[in-house]
């Protein structure tokens, strides 16, 4: 079993209009050292997938219909809140999109980091490495030392001094570094990064990507990188999963998927990104818009917009087929690996 294993995850959200099936049978396996890019357009369910792993989807209105999430063998959907809390921070770290709103503005960053470190230490005393009888004060001092070290590691200059600054005194990129430091202070094995660079300038984005990459190498992290930017995925990720309307429609190692996108949606997505070779007017967008999740189309959810749709697409959810080892596609047109290749 994989380190993180999501099997047939179904999530519904209740709203005024009715119950939306926002996740519709997600399957995903992530191992340590792998960086998975979870890509898709707005509303496809990629963030909810990330939040589901940390069990941070509010419920109600959220409701898990089916499926399981196993983290290091533990079934997360069956874990009580208290158990989840021990996993968060200590074993699963998370960072979010907007570094300006994700740091509590009323507290010095050190204060927040120390609390996270103390929490992680309560789960795993090895974090601070203090004897069980250590006083509160000792723990705080040690936690602060760890926080400074962590800030230093993520590239915050002059960390020992800046730990006593407030979030608004940092630039956007630095705040994201602080958040990363905070997420990693508990030495998690899995890092879920939800659009960590979307709000940043490209130059800063490159630095953050480099930082994440180095941290993965150092800690053997498993990373789930949620993004809509194919470029970021191509650069940083080892694997990619493309989502559309609550489904993963294509997944696998980055190179085969990007070189040989098989699902019509993946292909459309690739073609929509302006590229040096594109001539003006040649970009191809996908016509139509994302289906209504209250009454999704019965078969393949892409069928109504799919340029190569066939009548049977509307009838039945296409099965997931491995077109090459590890490269899975959920499209009736895909041909399984080993059969007569195109």
């Amino acid at each position: 079993m994989a380190f993180l294993d999501i099997r047939d995850l179904h999530l519904a959200m209740r709203t005024f209009e009715g119950e939306a099936h926002v996740l519709n049978g997600i399957n995903l396996s992530v191992e340590r050292g792998e960086i998975w890019g979870l890509v898709g357009e707005t509303g496809c369910g990629k963030s909810l997938t990330g939040l589901s792993i940390s069990r941070l989807v509010p419920s109600p209105p959220g409701r898990y219909l089916r499926g399981e999430i196993r983290f290091a063998g533990q079934d997360l959907l069956a874990t009580p809140e208290d158990g989840m809390r021990r996993l968060r921070g200590g074993h699963i770290g998370m960072i979010f999109q907007d570094p300006t709103t994700n740091l509590n503005p009323a507290f010095r960053i050190g204060e927040q980091m120390v609390d996270v470190a103390l929490h992680a230490d309560a789960v795993d005393p090895a974090i601070l490495g203090l004897a069980p009888g250590a006083s509160r004060r000792q723990r705080r001092v040690e936690a602060r030392r760890l926080a400074i070290a962590m800030l230093d590691k993520v590239g915050v200059p002059d960390a020992a001094r800046r730990i006593d600054d407030y979030p608004h005194q940092f630039s956007g990129g630095m705040r994201q570094r602080v958040l990363i430091a905070m997420a990693l202070i508990g030495k998690p094995e899995l890092l879920i990064a939800d659009e960590p660079t979307t709000a940043l300038d490209v130059s800063v984005q490159a630095q953050i990507l480099r930082l994440i990459h180095s941290l993965v190498l150092e800690y053997q992290l498993a990373v789930l990188l949620i993004t809509h930017n194919l470029g970021v995925v191509a650069q940083l990720c080892t694997h990619v999963a493309v989502m559309y309307a609550g489904n993963i429609i294509e997944s696998g190692p980055v190179r085969p998927v990007f070189r040989n996108p098989t699902h019509p949606y993946t292909r459309a997505l690739m073609k929509a990104v302006p590229h040096a070779t594109h001539r003006r007017g040649e970009l191809q967008g996908l016509p139509g818009s994302v289906p209504n999740l209250f009454t999704p189309p019965p078969g393949c959810r892409l069928a109504p917009r799919c340029p190569v749709a066939q009548p049977r697409c509307a009838e039945r959810v296409p099965p997931t087929i491995a077109v090459s080892p590890g490269h899975d596609v959920a499209c009736v047109l895909a041909t399984p690996a080993g059969s007569a290749a195109a």
Partner: protein
């Protein structure tokens, strides 16, 4: 932080000047002829003119204001045109009672309201939320004078648990004047009996006074807490495994407090001017009753004195609130 504080304090000067100017303008622009009234029913025109001269009311308005303003600074706040008592002396007699009432009520409201609002937000749409919503809406809607009457009848008259009204038993001597707050003065004098008695007299008026700010603080706290709970950083804090208790009582509370603080400041001033209803019902010898009497007789020096005192207190309280706000909200401080 110090510079922030100094700036705020310096900014008070124009506010207080403006306040005195505004109060003066309002007092003079209102219709009514206090001099004729004060001169009494049998006064001749000459006597009325004498009285006007005595009070400086025959001079042009700017001159009158100048006299008034310089008087304010030198401790001469004018005198009541009817009782001829100096306004400042009257204020010294009446203000402590009102302040004690308001302070106790506000402390009650804050001590109960903040946790109640926090809990209501945390248990949103569950019973603690419903109870607190209904109770606080009811409390806000309850006319204080009506509530006061009911309390008086129920607890004081019918059950006989608490005194009907007043501040202290008539035939006992109150503790020696130190702050004018009987509760504090009695403790100062080391007289626990007097303290208990003062509290017993305070109980009903303070309760009737505190309900409305209590309800408002609860509601405000609930709303801001809900807002804060939706902030990204709360999600981050949860995602990093911090306990619910730590998040609520440390990280959320501090953020939610800042908006509530503003309400507390506003309410404090509002209460100072609004105790008149409770004072009327409970015969609480405070500034509200004093003002009412002066208003009814159009005795405007006391009215101006009361209004200015409340205005200045309001400004002062809000200065404190501003400074606390700066403490809670680092961005403000460093701006």
């Amino acid at each position: 932080m110090l510079r922030f504080a100094v700036r705020r304090i310096v900014l008070l000067v124009p506010v207080i000047v403006g306040l005195s100017l505004l109060i003066f303008a309002i007092a003079r622009l209102l219709p009514g002829d206090p001099v004729t009234l004060a001169a009494g029913p049998n006064a001749t025109q000459a006597e009325i003119a004498d009285l006007a001269r005595e009070f400086g009311l025959d001079q042009p308005l700017p001159v009158q204001y100048w006299h008034y303003a310089t008087g304010l600074v030198t401790g001469d706040w004018g005198q009541s045109i009817f009782t001829r008592r100096p306004v400042l002396e009257d204020l010294k007699a009446y203000l402590p009672a009102t302040l004690e009432l308001v302070v106790v009520a506000m402390v009650l409201a804050i001590v109960i309201g903040i946790p109640a609002g926090l809990l209501a937000a945390v248990y949103r749409d569950r019973w603690p939320d419903y109870v607190s919503r209904v109770v606080s809406l009811g409390a806000i809607s309850m006319p204080r004078f009506f509530l006061g009457l009911l309390l008086q009848l129920g607890l004081a008259m019918w059950l006989g648990w608490l005194p009907l009204g007043g501040r202290f038993p008539l035939t006992e001597d109150p503790p020696p004047f130190v702050t004018g707050f009987l509760t504090i003065d009695s403790l100062w004098a080391g007289d626990p009996h007097a303290f208990g008695v003062a509290l017993a007299y305070l109980a009903l008026p303070a309760f009737a006074t505190c309900l409305s700010p209590l309800a408002t603080i609860t509601r405000m706290m609930r709303a801001t807490t809900l807002e804060v709970l939706q902030q990204d950083y709360v999600l981050t804090e949860r995602a990093l495994g911090l306990s619910q208790r730590l998040i609520i009582f440390k990280y959320v509370l501090k953020n939610a407090m800042s908006s509530t603080l503003t309400v507390i400041g506003l309410y404090f001033g509002w209460l100072l001017g609004g105790t008149v209803l409770v004072e009327t019902v409970f015969d609480w010898p405070g500034i509200g009753l004093y003002a009412t009497k002066a208003i009814v007789t159009q005795d405007f020096m006391p009215v101006m004195g009361v209004t200015l005192t409340i205005g200045v207190l309001f400004v002062a309280v809000n200065l404190v609130v501003d400074l606390l706000y700066g403490l809670l909200n680092p961005k403000v401080r460093y701006e």
